[in-house]
Amino acid sequence: MELVEAIILAVLAASTPLLIAATGELVTERSGVLNLGVEGMMIVGAACGFAGAWLTGSTFIGALFGIVAGTLVSLIFALMTLGLAVNQVATGLALTILGIGLSGLIGAGFVGERITPAVHLAIPGLTEIPLIGRVLFGEDGFVYFSVALIVGVWWFLHRTRAGLILRACGDNHVSAHALGYPVLRIRTFAVMFGGACAGLAGAYLPLAYTPFFIPGMTAGRGWIALALVVFSSWRPGRLVVGAYLFGAVTILQLHAQGWGVGIPSQFMSALPYLATVIVLVLLSRARTGGSSAPAALGTVFVPDR
């Protein structure tokens, strides 16, 4: 019983940064922009988030630092790819390299420092319920926020006019422009949202996951978040399933080693990517026309004026 509860808690904790980062990237990609710099934005968010919390002693302010840092880094990307119409793939990769270096610089003074981890919810009577109590009523704020975030994004994309316009920009920027929508401005906001989410996801790691900062602590989670968006075929509902599935695989991999199961841990680490490839194959076989990916994804747009 206790083991099951512990595993569920660990899976939630491991999944939350993936969910937050992937939610941001989903919105970015739905607007037609492919930002491969998620890992870079996350790691800068982690360093700045830790710095904020260490300086003020507040997890909340630390999270805000992470959000602002992620947004600022994403603005570099927006300036390059939207303002100067540079290739998005190259810029995204460069952004990751930049982010890793930058976070090392910012975080250098904080290595070895400790902060108080994010507080967990505690409702007398409810949190003590066996098995589900701590899972439902004993989490930190990030976990609840991540769920609200993906629900909010689903509602925004599929139930609001602004969301429809954003999807339209991702489907055909020439048509969106011809109808009078400011494609580049909309995409800039989408990129900034993606940056903010990546920054927050990064900040989650030192603020709640482990209460200290080490360089490179995102450890490829940004890449998993990117794979997750493809895995979800750009749909918020499937993104939630995918995030917890990928989170579970990472936790399972640790426990499998502990139990002495004879599967190499490297194979387990590769599972999310393998799953993404399989989903891509299934998707392309299931649909005869149209496409699940935003049709304008990754293409440069220069309006004629």
């Binding site: 429809l164 489907d171 048509s175 011809a178 026309g289 149209g290 004026r305």
Partner: protein
């Protein structure tokens, strides 16, 4: 009738007009750097008027309507709406004033539903459900049936255009711009569209109708304004003009009557096809069955037929995009070439111009010089010791530009930046400049304006006069009658025996295109029945 008289004489019209213009441009000018796309254009459009905007590709039609729809800002001059000068901040501003537009290249979103596509063209003040309901109602009222829940990628071209039109009508526009709406429609679909347009006119709306199909304009429009080289040439009543006089105004001077040099001599057979049969490459392709013909130097053979009867497959077999099992099925310059690749066939002196200009005839995002290299590398001295001779490729571009009057913004632009007519002139020019012994060309003037079409047809005739064998596939019977010496018809993958052009009447060709035989007995049968 007084309406028509007024329109016939535009000058006094302004002085004593009972109905003021709904939309007016006054000395509207648009410059792109040194290039003047619109030069002081005055145009007036009144309610209950279908006003044609005529001009060749590059005449400035698109620029003018983009300015009227608020997509671009004019460099000088003004737009007046109900007599008041207005500045349009963007398309949504234009729409809110009652100006609607149906684009030539549809501005639709493939992965969104019909209702979502329509919603994006509206101001969004109306709840989505109400909008969907109204959409169904509007589409029913105008006889343009649509299912709001389907995604666009599932729909046919005609249905997609319906979305565009319904989207424009949902805003209850007083003024509607249609950019070449019939270019992609079958004749039946076009007839339905005309009924809708007549009805909109009767409702008191004004329509600006861009086209270069002159018979359509004569049939439908009350007034026509002709643009040429960015300037307004004339506003006239198309019903009082002939197609020839309208074309004259568009092109500026007589469209050169395409003339064959007299006494063209046929020489040796240069392209021979012997009993060519080929299974289709795709599931819905056409099987070629026992095709044989012989084409001599100095001769033009026309292949007529409804699209999709094996013309594409024949082109692929002749060009070497598909190889035949028996080398003797295609003989170029006396050499069995059925098994040879495209490049090897080019080295024998053959040249090919496919139907699709972008993507097949040229690589859209590559420069013209690079596109010249792509077909010319084998036999035109553009490659030396494995290196590209850039000067030679640019020279080819310059020669094609000069000889065939290709209009472009700079010396060596991307292929995709050229208009259809100019790109086609470049592609045909590129092949003709190689002095081919055999030219196989598919739909040479499809979607090309009258002036460019005349230049291309003349070039094909001149090439034949110079001794080459030319094979032209076309759905345009008038075109074939103009240039071909003999005409054969493709039907269900079979090719009829060629008729001499003088004997190939429309009726005979029509029968062959419908799959009938020309045997005397059966022909009488058909008439009797």
């Amino acid at each position: 009738m007084p309406m028509h008289q007024r329109m016939f004489d535009p000058t006094p019209q302004r002085l004593h007009s009972s109905e003021p213009p709904l939309l007016q441009t006054v000395e509207l000018t648009k410059r792109y750097g040194d290039f003047i796309a619109n030069d002081s254009i005055d145009i007036e459009i009144r309610p209950r008027e279908i006003h044609a905007l005529l001009g060749e590709n590059g005449a400035g039609k698109s620029t003018l309507v983009k300015a009227i729809y608020g997509l671009i800002q004019p460099s000088a001059g003004e737009i007046r709406w109900h007599g008041e000068p207005i500045v349009l901040s963007g398309p949504s501003d234009a729409r809110s004033r009652g100006i609607g537009m149906v684009f030539q290249h549809f501005s639709l979103f493939d992965n969104l539903t019909v209702a979502e596509n329509v919603a994006l063209g509206l101001d969004g003040k109306e709840p989505f459900k109400d909008m969907s309901a109204r959409l169904e109602q509007v589409s029913k009222t105008y006889g343009l049936p649509l299912d709001p829940r389907r995604e666009v990628w599932q729909l046919s071209v005609g249905e997609r255009q319906r979305i565009e039109i319904v989207r424009a009508l949902m805003q209850d526009p007083k003024f509607l711009i249609l950019d070449e709406p019939t270019a992609v429609l079958t004749p039946q679909e076009a007839d339905q569209l005309f009924i809708v347009l007549e009805r909109l006119k009767a409702e008191g709306r004004a329509i600006l109708y861009i086209s270069h199909k002159l018979d359509e304009v004569k049939r439908l429009c009350d007034t026509a304004t002709i643009l040429r080289g960015g300037r307004k040439i004339e506003t006239c009543n198309p019903q009082r003009e002939t197609a020839a006089s309208l074309a004259r105004m568009m092109v500026g001077g007589e469209i050169k009557q395409v003339r064959a040099a007299s006494g063209r001599k046929t020489t040796v057979p240069r392209l021979v096809v012997n009993d060519l049969s080929l299974a289709p490459a795709e599931a819905h392709g056409v099987r070629l069955e026992h095709i044989s013909f012989e084409l001599k130097g100095g001769e033009i053979l026309g292949i007529a037929g409804v699209a999709g009867n094996g013309q594409d497959e024949l082109f692929a077999a002749l060009s070497g995009e598909r190889l035949s099992k028996h080398s003797g099925t295609v003989v170029i310059e006396g050499i069995a070439a059925g098994h040879l690749s495209i490049t090897q066939r080019r080295k024998l002196g053959a040249a090919f111009v496919p139907e699709e200009r972008l993507g097949h005839g040229t690589a859209p995002r590559m420069k013209l010089s690079e596109n010249a290299l792509l077909t010319g590398h084998a036999a035109s001295g553009m490659v030396r010791h494995g290196f590209i001779d850039t000067a030679a490729t640019l020279k080819t571009v310059d020669r094609a530009t000069e000889t065939f009057d290709v209009r472009k913004a700079k010396r060596d632009p991307e292929a995709a930046s050229l208009s259809g007519g100019n790109l086609q002139k470049f592609i045909v020019g590129r092949e003709i400049l190689r002095n081919p012994a055999v030219l196989v060309v598919s739909q040479p003037t499809w979607g090309v304006d009258a002036g460019a079409a005349a230049i291309i047809r003349q070039a094909l005739l001149d090439l034949a006069t110079a001794g080459a064998a030319v094979l032209v596939t076309s759905q345009d019977l008038d075109e074939l009658a103009e240039i071909a010496d003999r005409i054969a018809v493709m039907f269900h993958g079979r090719l009829s025996a060629p008729l001499a052009a003088s004997e190939a009447s429309r009726e005979k060709l029509g029968l062959l295109m419908g799959g009938s035989s020309l045997e005397p007995k059966e022909a009488t049968h058909a008439v009797g029945a």
